[in-house]
């Protein structure tokens, strides 16, 4: 009798107007990571396609290349909280903020919305002690994702944009590898959501809008100056943008999280942030230091006019551990990115 009543109550809840439970802020802020992605209630469906209240989708002008994975990004901010604008570096997010990124492959890249298989969902959670990175691996049935701390390899097959079948030994990073890329001054930090990289339009359900405008309008961002005063990272694949801007945006997104005076590759002396302007630091005439065979018998990072004599392109063109760059995050080469950097170096005047 009692059980029957409870069942009835549950039925009424389902059919009634009670909203679904919100994002589980308590689980997000707990010391230990939740064992399953669903524990956080970031999505309202088991497959993680329907964002819960408080999540806003976003995109980056120039993102990191990750083996052609399709990435969907959301930011969650606790009710009433906003990120604070910063002109340089990532926005200042409040405690409880979560950056959510799902890596997925459609069976056929030419039909990106069909038969999409999610591989992992990475979370960057702003706890009271600072940012924490975790990743969750999707199960075969795509009904939930499970905490994966030590990394894993996943066999992924898809048809690429040109109709060719591709097979990738996709690497889910281990927790330390998350930090290798996501650190400044040995402190974990997001990489993507800088004002300049968010400064572009996004196709929201309600129509296209500049993301910073949208965030301000929705109360997600405070302290932002008028849009025309905000710097903008070029879209690396926008052929209408100046070549130099595209190339620098690409290097910023794909290299500068480590090749930064405050990050993992600080000892290399090669610094590729958009803000860098010293030419040896950018690789011009710069000899390798600890590149080992990664230097590939070449003498300098960038040899203007000569992509084939530049270590930058040599390492981008490799998929061999110990040679390839970036060291983490890809197992196949980014042909389009490589073409861009080769074109950029190729058109430089030889000194």
């Amino acid at each position: 009798m009692r059980r029957w009543l409870a069942g009835l109550a549950a039925l009424i809840c389902l059919g009634g107007s009670t909203p679904p439970p919100g994002v589980a802020l308590e689980a997000l802020l707990a010391d230990a990571p939740a064992p399953r992605l669903s524990d956080y209630q970031l999505f309202t469906d088991p497959a993680g396609h329907q964002p819960n209240a408080g999540l806003t989708p976003y995109g980056l002008n120039s993102p990191l290349f990750t083996d052609y994975a399709v990435k969907s990004r959301f930011v969650f901010l606790p009710p009433g909280k906003a990120a604070v604008f910063t002109k340089v570096g990532v926005l200042d997010f409040p405690v409880g903020a979560v950056l959510i990124k799902t890596f997925a492959y459609p069976a056929d890249m030419r039909r990106p919305n069909e038969a999409v298989r999610s591989i992992e969902t990475r979370l960057l959670i702003r706890k009271t002690s600072g940012w924490v990175a975790q990743t969750y691996r999707w199960n075969a049935d795509q009904t939930d994702a499970v905490l994966k701390r030590a990394g894993a390899r996943v066999d992924v097959a898809f048809i690429d944009q040109t109709g060719q079948p591709r097979r990738i030994d996709y690497a889910i990073p281990n927790q330390n590898q998350c930090k290798e890329c996501h650190q400044l001054d040995e402190t974990l930090t997001p990489i993507g959501p800088k004002a300049r990289n968010l400064n572009g339009t996004f196709a929201y359900g309600e129509g296209q809008e500049n993301q910073l405008d949208h965030w301000v309008r929705k109360g997600l961002l405070s302290g932002a100056p008028p849009l025309h005063q905000v710097p903008r990272t070029a879209r690396w694949n926008d052929v209408s943008a100046p070549l130099n801007d595209r190339a620098r945006a690409y290097l910023d997104a794909n290299c500068a999280h480590c090749h930064n005076p405050r990050a993992a590759a600080s000892n290399s002396g090669l610094f590729l942030t958009l803000e860098e302007n010293r030419s040896p630091a950018l690789g011009f005439g710069k000899q390798p230091v600890a590149a080992g065979r990664g230097a590939g018998d070449l003498k300098v990072g960038i040899d203007p006019g000569h992509p084939d004599r530049s270590i930058l392109t040599y390492r981008m063109a490799s998929t061999e551990p110990g040679v390839m760059m970036p060291e983490l995050g890809r197992t196949v080469l980014d042909q389009e990115g490589l073409d861009l950097i080769r074109q950029w170096i190729g058109q430089m005047k030889t000194p």
């Binding site: 990394g151 040995e186 080992g292 065979r293 230097a295 018998d297």
Partner: protein, 403 residues
């Protein structure tokens, strides 16, 4: 009563021991995940204990927790093989402080063997890093590779086959490398852009170059200084240089015992130096272009004394070397100096005191201009008083790890 008190003391002792736990890992099918999980689960004070056996890894491993010991059962017993490595730039990466790696071997990593970056009190003890196929330019660059680290202890480490330097300490401070062996690498032991290093009781043999002390431009830490090399054997360095061309060590001539390039206040004494076909000791300037105004390309305040120098220099392998050797009757003296004491824009004269010899002074007008050499040979060179740096002292906890 007494017995009760003793039991209580014993119990509380057990509690404090229990706080530092041992995480045991055994060889098996999922060792990648097992070791990596142990390295993530360890708490400060813990030991990750790797049982004897061979561990076939498929990706790089990493440790980012302070005060952890990673320990095997010996350099032949516990072998981490990275032959099947698919990703990451090194076998094991350490980014935390007060970490000790000991009693294990790392084989065939695709990039570097064991790297520490930004680590304080990092110790490598009784470790073997080896590329098992012998010298090959496709081998990883460095075997044991602390960089941007402070308080570095490398003891009873053996590295074989590195395509750059077997034991490489870069941009670090307060360093001891002792009782170690480097063979069949391009460079055996290299101290680069580092400050305060004692390198002693090591054997560097069958490398292209035995022991190197360098300072390079355009790096966050420059101005390397204060290194003592003593009681080492830099003998029979006879492996043809197999480094990829662009690397700085590709410029190390095959058959160099000890090489000092740029850097300041280097004292080389009581070493055995023989069987090196280019030179026993080579002291040269950095000879590539650089724009960094704060960089000094000259070796200065260099002392050579009381070394046991045998046969060296019979077939020098640097550009122009054989011509100079011919002029001198077929071979070079064991000590070779480019003789540059002044560099445009720098106020000081470089001082040296080479008590060991004979010394070939090339008297180059500027770095690298070997074609303009005006060679002279003297029994010794210079009598400058150059104070020796004090012995390197590591923090007590770390020093106590030593034999």
């Amino acid at each position: 009563m007494n017995r009760f008190a003793i039991a209580l003391i014993a119990a509380s002792a057990l509690v404090s021991v229990a706080q530092a736990k041992v995480i045991a890992v055994n060889p098996g099918p999922d060792v990648q995940e097992a070791i990596q999980t142990a390295l993530l689960d360890a708490k400060p004070g813990d030991t990750v204990q790797l049982a004897p056996g061979r561990y076939d890894l498929t990706d790089g491993l990493s440790l980012d927790i302070n005060d952890v010991t990673v320990k095997g059962a010996g350099t032949q017993a516990t072998v981490l093989s990275f032959k099947g490595q698919k990703g990451a730039g090194e076998g094991l990466l350490i980014t935390s402080d007060r970490v000790t790696v000991r009693d294990l071997a790392v084989e065939d990593s695709r990039g570097d063997g064991i790297k520490s970056k930004g680590a304080d009190e990092i110790s490598f003890i009784n470790v073997r890093v080896e590329w098992t196929g012998g010298p090959n330019e496709k081998n990883g660059a460095y075997g044991v590779y602390p960089v941007a680290s402070t308080n570095v202890l490398i003891e009873r480490v053996t590295v074989k086959g590195a395509s750059d330097a077997g034991i490489y300490v870069g941009q670090s401070k307060n360093i001891i490398v002792k009782n170690s062996r480097a063979e069949f690498n391009v460079a055996g032991i290299e101290i680069e852009n580092s400050i305060n290093a004692d390198v002693f009781d090591n054997v560097a043999t069958h490398n292209a170059g035995g022991i190197l002390v360098f300072d390079l431009p355009n790096l966050p830490q420059m101005g390397g200084n204060s290194t003592r090399l003593f009681r080492n054997q830099a003998v029979d360095n006879d492996t043809p240089n197999f480094a990829p061309k662009g690397n700085i060590v590709a410029g190390v001539p095959t058959g160099t015992g000890i090489m000092i390039m740029a850097n300041r206040n280097i004292h080389v004494f009581d070493n055995a130096i023989s069987g090196n076909q280019t030179a026993g000791v080579m002291v040269v300037s950095y000879n590539q272009n650089f724009t960094d105004k704060s960089y000094n390309p000259l070796p200065r305040d260099i002392v050579l004394r009381d070394n046991r120098i045998g046969k060296n220099g019979w077939d020098p392998k640097f550009d122009g070397g054989s011509m100079i050797a011919k002029q001198l009757g077929g071979s070079l003296p064991p000590v070779l100096w480019d003789g540059i004491v002044r560099f445009e824009g720098l106020p000081d004269l470089a001082q040296v005191r080479f008590s060991d010899g004979p010394v070939l002074n090339l008297n180059l007008p500027a770095p690298g201009q070997v074609d303009k050499a005006r060679p002279t040979i003297t029994k010794s060179v210079g009598d400058a008083k150059i104070a020796e740096p004090a012995a390197v002292v590591l923090p007590k906890r770390q020093a106590d790890l030593s034999l």
